[in-house]
Amino acid sequence: MRKAVLILIFALLAAGAASAQDIQIITDEEALFGSADEMPVEGAAPPADGKTGDSLFSASEDELFQDEGVERIQSGAEGTAVAAFLKTDAVRIGGTFTGSVDSEWTWTDPWTVNADPLDPDAASLPTALSALVFFDARPEEDYRVYGSAKTGWPFADADGEPNIRVFELFSDFNWNDAVFLRFGKHTVKWGVGYFWSPADVLNLSAIDVEDPTAQREGPISLRAHFPVPGTQTNLWGYLLAPNVADASALEPADLAAAGKLEFLVGGWELGMGAFYQQDRAPKAIMTATGALGRFNLFGEAVLGWGSDTNLATDIEESASPPYITVSLGKIEDEPVFSGTGGFSWSESDWNLAVSGQYFFNGESYEDSDRKTLIASARDIQASPPAGSDAGLLATSIKGLIYGSGRHYAGLSVSKTELWTEDLSVSLLAIANLSDLSGMVAPTVSYELFERMTLRAGATFYWATDLLWGAGDDGEYVVVAGGPAVTLSLGASLGGGRF
């Protein structure tokens, strides 16, 4: 018995070693095609000895085909290739692990003579240790259940609540292979923008401009997808549950509804859709993607009847924290337009990729209103109420100015394999064109070895008072606390998919 167990363990280890072993690639022509001295195949010139290949006809058909380098393949019945692929006996478990440590030093106003390059105003140690774990079960060809959960360090909040949350949980099923349904909590595909997507009114989180390709959290919804047979026209319909803390308070009337039609016009894919939810501004959207030469282009247009965005209408000082009283209002009973357009371009021979986008945010402030409100806030800051907290006031002003522009632009440039295969550089630039402020973040990274990458980067916040620039009132310098510079050194450690 013991011997049998040892044999079994040995066999398993041996099997493991074999599967981990490299595959030997044989490129020797004689080994692959045989030698000219061997029996020639049909059509060959007679051998030098003048003998004919009688043995050719004594070989079995299988041997003959094998000799000729042709294998017979038995083709399955209709759809078998798909059925075998979609149904699995085992549940697949996988995920992603992210690990990184960065050291950051920030100088809030390094461009003055008093600035000390050796004495940063702030230092921090952003550390990422997170994971997403998923399961993917396909008990039937037409039925799938998928779920994923996220966790990250710190693993509990201040109240001791564990930092674990369900990110997606849904099932896929269909009606007659014609209407494909997904019910549950899942990311919604809606807009086409890269840095900004005003058309995407469904997902719970906005695009992170510093990580635009990251998966976004979606709401609980029932999605019906109808690919029109024989075309690449797609009809999507959604019923969405609002994201509320107390689900028991929801009523049927709280559900939101959205629909979208996607269709091709030549090399362009156009999308037209609408969104409706009680007590929210209804929206009509249009999306377009296509190409012009080597540029991929995309665009979104959104027309809402009113807006759901709260805008400040007046700012006054107050005697109690936060010492500013902001009156809020929404645009109502009038059409509100937002739109965006952008491009991506890549040259694989140069390992170079560029993406750019312009965003018009019609739900934000008119330029004149924004300036008036900022001036009011600055007046309060200049003559603060007695006993007020300067820090709290500054934070309030940051919140007021953040995202207050109507015109934004983003640009991303990345080049891999610079000089060596392991060296990459990238540049991210975001600008508020309404007040001419922005940030520029160049990064250099070097893959030391697989799963360990070192990087160095800087982030420059800038603003100008030239042209229509707001100078010190520019969004990005206000949010950063000044024309700040942040330097960072860090490493990605052991990240990957499993």
Partner: protein
Amino acid sequence: MNKLIRGAAAALLILAGLAPAFAQDAAPDFRKLVETLDSIDDFTGSDFSGVFTIVTDKPGKRQEVTQVRMFRRDSKEQFLMLMLLPEASKGQGYLKEGDNFWFYDPTSRKFNHSSMKEALNDSEARNDDFKRKKTLEEYDIAKTGEGMVGKFPVWVIDLKAKTNDVSYDMVTIYVRKDRPLVLKQEDKSVNGRLMRTTLFPKYADVGKGKFFPSQMLIVDEINTGEKSQITMAELSVAKLPDKVFTKAFLEQTN
């Protein structure tokens, strides 16, 4: 991942040949033979699916293994490719119909559409990699002859580029005399320097008189030691459900 996609795309192009058997004793009409080789990359009238495994060796690097599952319907210019390996790229996929491509990224659950003529969005795979070849529009036949590849008698055809839009200025193909099956291809620079050799030791007979390479070996003649092996499995020309060539299927699989 981009390189993997491109490698897979190139493999699909080359491996997708269909070859009706024919006998050829006397010197053939070589233009017609080259046209036949081009036309065998045509699945019109039948669907095609298979799993491609690409193993790449580079000196000083760990061996890379890429696996893709591919579905084709040439009658409608439809194509769907799913990445199976490496694990980091698993679930990514391409859907193509005519000049329109969609790249699906399961991480962001987004479809990226492109109709770019020159290159696929965010990848090194070129649109031309998916197009049917028309060799004689790009190359002239410069010279023909006979030879042997292993034990196989072959026609040797030297091609010379007549446009600048090709990857290699000179190409030599070795075609079996008994069937229009390429056994070997040599890609050369404008001055005749050998850049790449591709060997096709095995073909698959999938029925209906159709054949295509089931094993391919690519040797980089410039970077010594760099070579790749591409093998195909689970080959089928059985009809595929229409849903395969839809966004719904691409999403359903990942």
